[in-house]
Amino acid sequence: MVPAEATAAAPPVPDQATARTWLGQMLLIRRFEEKAAELYSAGKIRGFLHLSIGEEAVSVGAVGALAADDNIVSTYREHGHALVRGLPPGAVMAELFGKANGSSRGRGGSMHIFDAGRRFFGGNAIVAGGLPLAVGLALADRMQHRPAITACFFGDGAVAEGEFHESLNLAALWKLPVLFLCENNYYAMGTALARHQAETDISRKGVAYRIASAAVDGMDVTAVADAVRAAVARIRSGGEPFLLECRTYRFRAHSMYDPELYRDRAEVDEWKRRDPITLFTDRLAREGVLGEGEIEQLDRSAHSATEAAVAFAEAGGWEPVEDLAKDVYTEAGNAPDVP
């Protein structure tokens, strides 16, 4: 498996403001997760921690192309999605710490970041578990005549699950506004794409459901943004689902314990040459959109936002043990309002 070729000519470079946003967001994810890895080693973060380092262009390009009312359904590898969605980095970091000021009051940890107000419906630790939820969210929008769409992230590994099949059929059959967004990083844990899929071109799988689809270079934030914008426009106008495969790569271990026996260092290095942040900064510099100083400034901001997030998490308290059984059920009078 070798790095994805750009499937089309790269879209034009964005304007300065957009470039700043995208680069800033990619850098934030990178620095945030590098820090999280450190904090894991330090024992501040426990359990499972899945980093999206290497895949930032997908989070930034995709989430950035959605409207605020659009729903997001994500996976356990969701820090990037959450940060771009606008969850405060502090709330996300505090969640990783398990603190009460975390986005899920610390109850969920890294795999279960939620923000109901921002229509960020998690964080799901069951591979492909989110796809049926996305169908339902889109159904609710459709039945209530709301214009929102639902973006549903999942990995290449999820494609093998029955839930992928059932959900794509349901969404297509019922003409629901779902963007199925596959983050194909060529591995499901240690199992390479070609060892888990008979058809490795995931975008072709739309055929089985009459779902329009495309594949895009997931290392190029401009390409992802473009493809998602087009897909979303198509979904909004036609009201039917779309399958978008973003070809990307995970630079780090699957989770924190992973000897990476299943891939060569050389393959990883090859992909790192297409680091989405480097690719984008090089281009911005080359085309004169952002100067070196500005780029450095963005990186400093990412670092300091990360530091602030850590400070916020450190300052947070622990959910009292007496509240252990709180919120297993909805307390009377605490039911959510009808949207």
Partner: protein, 330 residues
């Protein structure tokens, strides 16, 4: 008003759909076919295909879609044709519906009602005769009820729809043709409480769903022998109404539990353990269980009958208990 259980379910569904635009029904063959048990017959014509939505055979997919629709502001009633097929949807229920509120720190609620037929007794063999209510009753984050009468079949549904959290309703398939009185009002009994269907002083028989009828029949027979059995219909399987169970057992000092689930790991095991914990010192005899024999339920009637609890086995257990310990109060 006298209605069959089937009509009672249909009445509940009709009223729910008519009174709240957020409510919709979906599942396999709920629409054009009219429901595998004809419980939703006519609803498609009345409410249209969006609100009475036929689904493909995709149990995990459409149950998960029900969860998503609940998150999106609707009040879905998802019908899984039978508990047997719900095994395919268990991940969505256990890892999704049941966890989302707690795991999100209380941000989300999942106001979802899942209905399914359960139980054996119709000669449909091993893969279509499960009674897995006990499994569902094990899962924190969901609630579980089992209407045993047309009245409850009518009125538990609207009460379940008022819950902000997932409620699973088990309808025993043998009950659909049974007729009974259905009140115009839900009545005073809360959704999650047990009730005494027959008062008695000599022992307590505890059952739910499709076993309540057999248990009442057994109680009648026992009365012929001068044994007055109290019969409790659990109604709610999660939460269990420990109060009603324990106060009855404290009075009668003996209990027989009737449960169509396989004996080992049955819901009856939990009820037995609760009595152990809450009324041990009041017991005159060990709590007995009448459950299904631990076999895949066979097709032919004589074997199926032999596998399931019946009035005779209930009576025998009751007589054993009362006989062995008559006047044994310590």
């Amino acid at each position: 008003m006298r209605l069959t259980y089937r009509e009672a379910v249909r009445t509940g569904l009709t009223q729910a759909l008519a009174s709240d635009p957020r409510v919709f029904l979906m599942g396999e063959d709920v629409g054009r076919y009219g429901g595998a048990y004809a419980a939703s017959k006519g609803l498609l014509e009345q409410f249209g295909p969006d609100r009475v939505r036929d689904t493909p055979l995709s149990e995990s997919g459409f149950v998960g879609a029900g969860i998503g629709a609940a998150l999106g502001g609707l009040r879905p009633i998802v019908e899984v044709m039978t508990v047997n097929f719900s095994l395919l949807a268990l991940d969505q229920i256990v890892n999704g519906a049941a966890t989302l509120r707690h795991m999100s720190g209380g941000q989300l609620s999942v106001p979802l009602v899942i209905r399914m037929a359960t139980g054996a007794g119709r000669q449909v063999a091993a893969q279509h005769s499960h009674s897995l209510e006990g499994w569902y009753a094990h899962v924190p984050g969901i609630k579980v009820v089992a209407p045993a009468t047309p009245h409850d079949a009518r009125w538990m549904l609207p009460a379940a729809l008022r819950e902000p959290d997932p409620v699973v309703i088990f309808e025993h398939a043998i009950l659909y043709p049974e007729e009974g009185e259905v009140g115009d009002e839900p009545g005073p009994l809360p959704l999650f409480s047990a009730c005494i269907r027959r008062a008695g002083r000599d022992l307590t028989l505890i059952a739910h769903g499709g076993s309540v009828g057999k248990t009442l029949a057994a109680a009648e027979r026992l009365a012929g022998d001068g044994i007055e059995a109290e019969v409790i219909d659990l109604r709610s399987l999660r939460p269990l109404d420990g109060e009603t169970i324990l106060s009855s057992v404290r009075r009668t000092h003996r209990a027989v539990l009737v449960d169509e689930g396989w004996r080992s790991g049955s819901l009856a095991a939990e009820v037995s353990a609760r009595i152990m914990e809450g009324a041990f010192y009041e017991l005159d005899a060990p709590v007995a269980r009448v459950c299904s024999v631990e076999v895949p339920i066979p097709y032919p009637k004589h074997l199926e009958d032999a596998a399931l609890p019946d009035a005779e086995r209930i009576c025998a257990a009751a007589r054993d208990l009362v006989g062995a310990t008559a006047g044994a109060r310590r």
